[in-house]
């Protein structure tokens, strides 16, 4: 096979990032996105929607813990995971502002602390027994408001930096577009909204809040569709690499099943009756997962090496 005419990204080697990383990209997006939505409900929602916000914080902490576990297990030397944060020779902090993986490691740690604070505050809120000081970490107080704003920004960071990390490589597809971070952050918002709907709706938690989440999800799905079209266009000739089963999975799994069908159900929920909301939310989650499967795994066999 002649390599003449291949893009520069095809002369690189596969880093063997597989299912653990796919799962991390998905779970990390859900953790960051759920925290962001919870903060949004706390800041802009009605008082009776607070149980829905609590649900977001309940999801965020386990999500960020699972994310860290997945990343550590994926290392070839897991016992050295702390080398990401502390220089192993000098014991100075290890931080590179220009390396997405370096900032991402710190972001995950700091976001984890915020997720813990909000988780405990959410846990204590409906309880009659003490721990009142934990309300410092929840709006409407000034400290709580600042806390969740910073936490929400960190959550969005965790949800989006993974796409930037892929762009700051030399690999086919990843390095051939600068829109993966945008796609991941939008998808994190839609999948997180879907998860909160899926968990909140059966419990009849704040129906007005669920309605707002559904409206948000519809907006974000339209946005995601535009972003994915932009993504494929930005790949240019390299997009031809997706003229295979991966491309089919992208079209059917991500675009049709994960975006178009949920949008149709949002627009005409009566078509399938009472389960429209839940079915639509489940499909959005599946589509978001498949997006990460396609993005992470589809280039493993591309290239000359």
């Amino acid at each position: 096979m002649s390599a003449v005419g291949l893009p520069d990204s095809f002369f690189t080697a596969d880093p063997h990032w597989r299912w653990l990383i796919v799962l991390y990209f998905f779970v990390g997006g859900l953790a960051g996105g759920s925290y962001f939505l919870a903060a949004l409900i706390d800041l802009f929602g009605r008082p009776w929607e607070r149980p829905l916000a609590r649900l977001g914080y309940y999801v965020a902490l386990p999500g960020v813990i699972l994310s860290a576990v997945l990343l550590i297990v994926d290392l070839r030397r897991p016992e050295r995971f702390w080398h990401m944060l502390i220089e192993s020779e000098t014991f100075q902090p290890m931080f590179k502002a220009w390396s997405p993986m370096s900032i991402g490691s710190w972001a995950l740690l700091v976001f984890g602390a915020f997720a813990l604070g909000s988780f405990l505050a959410a846990l204590a809120e409906p309880r009659p027994w003490g721990w009142r000081w934990l309300s410092l970490f929840r709006p409407p107080g000034i400290t709580g408001t600042l806390f969740v704003i910073v936490g929400a920004l960190l959550g969005l960071y965790v949800a989006g930096y993974t796409g930037v990390l892929l762009a700051v490589t030399s690999r086919p597809l990843w390095a051939d577009t600068t829109l993966l971070g945008l796609a991941f952050i939008v998808s994190a918002a839609s999948t997180s909204a879907a998860l909160l709907i899926l968990l909140g709706e059966p419990r009849r938690l704040a129906l007005s809040g669920i309605a707002a989440l559904k409206r948000l999800d519809a907006w974000v799905l339209v946005l995601e569709l535009l972003v994915l079209v932009g993504l494929v266009v930005s790949l240019g000739a390299v997009a031809r690499a997706w003229l295979d089963a991966w491309g089919l999975l992208f079209i059917l799994g991500v675009v049709v099943l994960g975006i178009l069908v949920p949008l149709a159900l949002h627009w005409r929920p009566r078509v399938i009756g009472g389960i429209a909301t839940l079915a639509s939310a489940a499909l959005v989650l599946i589509g978001g997962f498949i997006l990460r499967v396609v993005v992470v795994l589809s280039n493993q066999n591309l290239g000359v090496h």
């Binding site: 002649s2 390599a3 003449v4 005419g5 291949l6 520069d8 990204s9 002369f11 690189t12 080697a13 880093p15 962001f36 939505l37 949004l40 802009f44 929602g45 009605r46 009776w48 290392l75 070839r76 030397r77 050295r80 080398h83 990401m84 220089e87 192993s88 020779e89 290890m94 590179k96 220009w98 390396s99 993986m101 370096s102 969005l156 989006g160 930037v164 762009a167 700051v168 490589t169 030399s170 829109l179 993966l180 971070g181 945008l182 796609a183 991941f184 952050i185 939008v186 918002a189 704040a206 129906l207 007005s208 309605a211 707002a212 409206r215 948000l216 907006w219 946005l223 972003v227 090496h305």
Partner: protein, 278 residues
């Protein structure tokens, strides 16, 4: 800092003996195969196939023959880490395991690396991979230990035709340019240098090559770029995404115009009031 040191690999005099591969493996104590028996490629004299964690030199065998095989030539190239002046692997490494040495070479410290594999994806040349024996990313060190002791790297020491030459980058470039002129004078007009230009891609390669065909033929990227070039545009697009998602969120939770939501809100509010009253 000492003068930048590097390799000049003149592919026109490589005879494909693989002495460089063997010398490299012996000095650096690299295993012959990744466990079990060595596999054969079956369609080439090249059974190494690619650079990875246990192959830090790789002699490429490129066969260029006409369909009836009446005409043809072999291109042979001993491939190696390019020790880029602007090194993508070094930039992304989140543990600080990858360093630039006093010889201006790029070295992975195996006792620091935790095997995250970001450098493998970042390298524009596909040079790095995990050595299963250590679980860390590994590649050519330009024999850092030998350089410290005043010796030349094992591969260039072993090369019987001086296809691999070691020296200061400045001197090697002069020698390489003279060699290109010599080849041009002899009629080999296709000869040119890949990576010898400090104005060129990645600030120049401290291990550069003399080639007689397009870079892609040698499995080299025609115009490699630094991964961090995509950091700012990619981050800005992501920030745009965050802003749009934020706006959509605020809009969805503030705008209660949608009738159904308003009705439901009323029901909720009633319930809330009742609970408070009770």
């Amino acid at each position: 800092m000492a003068e930048p040191m590097g390799f000049f690999t003149d592919t026109t005099v490589c005879i494909g003996c693989k002495a460089c591969e063997v010398a490299c493996k012996e000095w650096n104590q690299l295993p012959a195969a990744e466990g079990g028996a060595n596999t054969l490629s079956g369609d080439s004299y090249d059974n190494t196939r690619r650079l990875d964690g246990i192959h830090w030199r790789h002699v490429q065998f490129i066969e260029q023959f006409s369909p009836d095989r009446s005409e043809g030539r072999w291109l042979l190239m001993s491939d190696v880490c390019k020790h880029c002046v602007q090194a993508g692997c070094l930039e992304v490494c989140p543990t600080g395991a990858i360093i630039r040495t006093e010889f201006d070479t790029v070295v992975i410290q195996s006792d620091v690396c935790n095997g995250c594999r970001d450098c493998i994806a970042a390298c524009p040349f596909g040079v790095i991979d995990i050595n299963p024996a250590s679980g860390t990313a590994q590649k050519c060190t330009l024999c850092y230990d030998r350089l410290r002791a005043g010796l030349e790297p094992a591969c260039s020491k072993a090369c019987p035709t001086d296809s691999i030459q070691f020296g200061t980058v400045r001197e090697l470039r002069e020698r390489a340019r003279a060699r290109v002129q010599q080849l041009h004078a002899q009629g080999e007009k296709r000869a040119y240098l890949y990576g010898a230009d400090e104005q060129g891609p990645l600030g120049g390669l401290n291990a550069f090559f003399l080639l007689v065909d397009r870079p892609e033929v040698y499995h080299l990227p025609p115009s490699p770029t630094l991964p961090s070039r995509r950091l700012v545009p990619s981050s800005l697009w992501t920030a745009v995404g965050a802003a749009l998602v934020g706006l959509a969120g605020v809009f969805s939770f503030r705008n209660r115009g949608a009738r159904q939501a308003a009705v439901e809100a009323e029901i909720e509010e009633e319930r809330h009031e009742r609970r408070r009253a009770a």
